[in-house]
Amino acid sequence: MIESPHYTAEHEIFRTNVRRFIERECLPHRKAWQAECRPPHALWEKAGAAGLLCTKMSPEYGGADGDLYHCMIIIEEQTRACFNELAFYLHSDIIAPYIELYGTPSQRQRYLPKMATGEYTAAIAMTEPSGGSDLQAMRTRAVKAGDHYLLTGQKTFISNAQTADFILVAAKTDVDAGARGVSLFIVDVREAEGFALGRNLRKIGCKVQDTSELFFDNVHVPAENLLGGAEGRGFYHLMQRLPEERLIMAMSAVVNMEAAADEAVAYAKDRRVFDKRLIEHQAARFELAEAKTVTTVARAYLERCIDLFVENQFDAEAGAMAKWWTTEKCCEVIDQCLQLFGGYGYMKETPIARRWMDARLGRIAGGTNEIMKDLIGRSL
């Protein structure tokens, strides 16, 4: 799908695996999972067995010692199959690294191997109903009581929570310390008293991906489950991880708009209207020329971002730029392409319609694009 000098033969074998997995293990069940509004827990175990999980993780914990391109390949193959609605990367490339990078040795030993096999699935809980992206305004509290913490609060928009075995929860351990009062806890929700899984929220798109509210009422969390073992590091950890998380979102957005443009070109070459192929109408051709230009520009930009990332120069501002710009253009290109499909573009069976519904989340998730612009604006 993608020409890149970075893909090795090993990457291409991996791609074949991924493609086969999606075709055999995901697509046949898509409708059922959409109806359930979540994937089954067994999917994660299958994905683990197929080597799709935690590809970047150290082999010490069962990972594949891979790179960002493994994540990219999964995104590419999901996109090709128009199965972007489930974020595999959330488990492998967003949550697992918190434990691998910041966890204590025993936390790593306990959680990472099971994440790699899919025995454990995970979620991460930052956003709160009242606060949106404002981490400073976080109300969830963790009060130390001997050898454990009591966690109380509420979270929302939490992906993967319905099947999660544990959830990485951000909470204030010191309410007066602002950002420095935030800590992360690994909450084993299967055995946590006082924890309640709220509604699985109905969304515009991304139907297979569950999105839930969470309630914590004096949930007993052992002190050893404080990530990294030291209080007040949570905000710092989150901030450190954000550029990579946003880069992954940008990867997804770019690949998605490329797929949309390709589908639209193919359709426009095939479809006949007013005695000509659609692409022979100049206005349609110009729309496609614009869409192809944007995707080409976006790909060049993405490659630059990945290069910077590899060189450890991809900072918060760069992450914010990549995230807002690519998700914005992704929606624009998809909307423009959808229009070319006419009435068929509005039918859910058409991939472009699903891309349109799914992609809209990109401008909101991971910090709204307004938050991104604010961040960039402050750094001018």
Binding site: T127, S130, G131, G132, S133, D134, Q136, A137, T156, F157, L201, R202, K203, I204, G205, R271, R272, V273, F274, D275, A283, A284, L338, Q339, G342, G343, G345, Y346, M347, K348, E349, A353, W356, M357, R360, L361, R363, I364, A365, T368, N369, E370, K373
Partner: protein, 362 residues
């Protein structure tokens, strides 16, 4: 009338929206209820069972329905698109027979123009009606037919010897007629949309609308200006409602210690949206006045259609964004408005067709 409509949509439709969404259509019973309340075909004259209202009645109904976000039952299509075909081109017998049943909601109407292969290109129509004795035999397939799953009366476009003609097809017990299952759409879930199939379906000669073959294209063109005008009415109502919802939401919602509405970006986006909605309304109302005076031409109707639906989508997208994560959740009206509005740039003639109509008139 406006008050009756509002109550009807809020108390008798809105509570069932989720169920109707699930079913992919509104039940026939709600059509009869709408008829009972006098909400159907308000412009049909009294002699055919209506109340003889004017375009403002239609607009009031559309506005109230749009404000509640209830998509199905698609009353306006029935009242403002189908009924006028019969009223303008039907024989006296057809009017007497069909209109009262449409007013009461016993019969539901639909229009069948679009074909799977043709989109907005009427000339490439392949559905044919050929004479057979005193009847016509109709064969072909239609798609994207709103109200198609329930329609008792279909205004059908087909090729005849003398060109495109319209037929009033009664679907009850019509041999050779079949409906597809409702299409699974990105939005407008309670508005049923289906394919219709005709295979040597036999209709009497009197079903030919207007009594002369080959007038279909002219009849469609005449009626389309009205349909596009009303699309503009929906668009303006939808954007106004979205703005109102968003002002309320952002005023309430707190972020970084203040109301989201207090951020300059929020205020600017809403200032733009409100201005654009006011501009759009001014244009729409001028078109309504022209229509009432019999002076709305195809070009201006095309301008209203593409402009208003473009603005509608742009504004609703921008309003959704101001809702943050909640904007993506279906329980918020803005999420549904976003899904429901996208088709407006496509139906009733895609916006590109509108630009072609305008461009050719220059």
């Amino acid at each position: 009338m406006r008050e009756t409509a509002r109550r009807f949509f809020v108390t008798e439709c809105l509570p069932h929206r989720d169920a109707w969404d699930e079913a992919g259509m509104a039940p026939r019973s709600i059509w009869r209820r709408a008829g009972e309340l006098g909400l159907l075909c308000s412009r049909v004259p009294e002699q055919y069972g209506g109340v003889g209202g004017d375009i403002l009645h239609s607009i009031a109904l559309i506005e109230e329905q749009t404000k509640t976000g209830v998509v199905g039952p698609m009353l306006s299509l029935h009242s403002d698109v189908v009924a006028p075909y019969i009223l303008h081109y039907g024989s006296e017998a057809q009017k007497k027979r069909i209109l009262p049943q449409m007013v009461s909601g016993e019969w539901i109407g639909a229009v069948a123009m679009t074909e799977p292969s043709g989109g907005s290109d009427l000339r490439s129509m392949t559905t044919r009606a050929r004479r057979s004795g005193g009847d016509y035999l109709i064969s072909g397939a239609k798609t994207f037919i709103s109200n198609g799953a329930n329609a008792d009366i279909v205004v059908l476009a087909a090729q005849t010897e003398a060109g495109i003609s319209l037929f009033l097809v009664e679907t009850a017990e019509l041999a050779g007629f079949a409906r597809g299952i409702p299409l699974d759409k990105a939005g407008q879930w309670s508005g049923d949309t289906t394919e219709l199939f005709f295979e040597d379906a036999r209709v009497p000669e009197s079903a030919l609308l207007g009594g002369v073959e080959g007038r279909g294209f002219a009849q469609l063109s005449e009626r389309l200006a009205e349909e596009r005008l009303l699309t503009g009415v929906v668009a303006v109502s939808a954007m106004e409602q979205a703005i109102a919802d968003t002002i309320a939401y952002t005023r309430e919602r707190q972020a970084f210690g203040r109301s989201v509405l207090d951020f300059q970006n929020t205020r600017f986006r809403l200032a733009e949206a409100r201005t654009e909605a006011i501009v759009c309304r001014a244009f729409m109302e001028r078109c309504v006045r022209k229509f009432a005076a019999g002076k709305l031409d195809a070009v201006e109707a095309a301008m209203l259609k593409w402009w208003s639906t473009e603005q509608q989508n742009k504004i609703i997208d921008s309003c959704l964004q101001l809702h943050g994560g909640y904007g993506y959740m279906l329980e918020y009206p803005i999420a549904r408005a976003w899904l429901d509005s996208r088709i407006a740039k496509i139906y009733g003639g895609a916006n590109e067709i509108m630009k072609e109509i305008i461009g050719r008139s220059l």
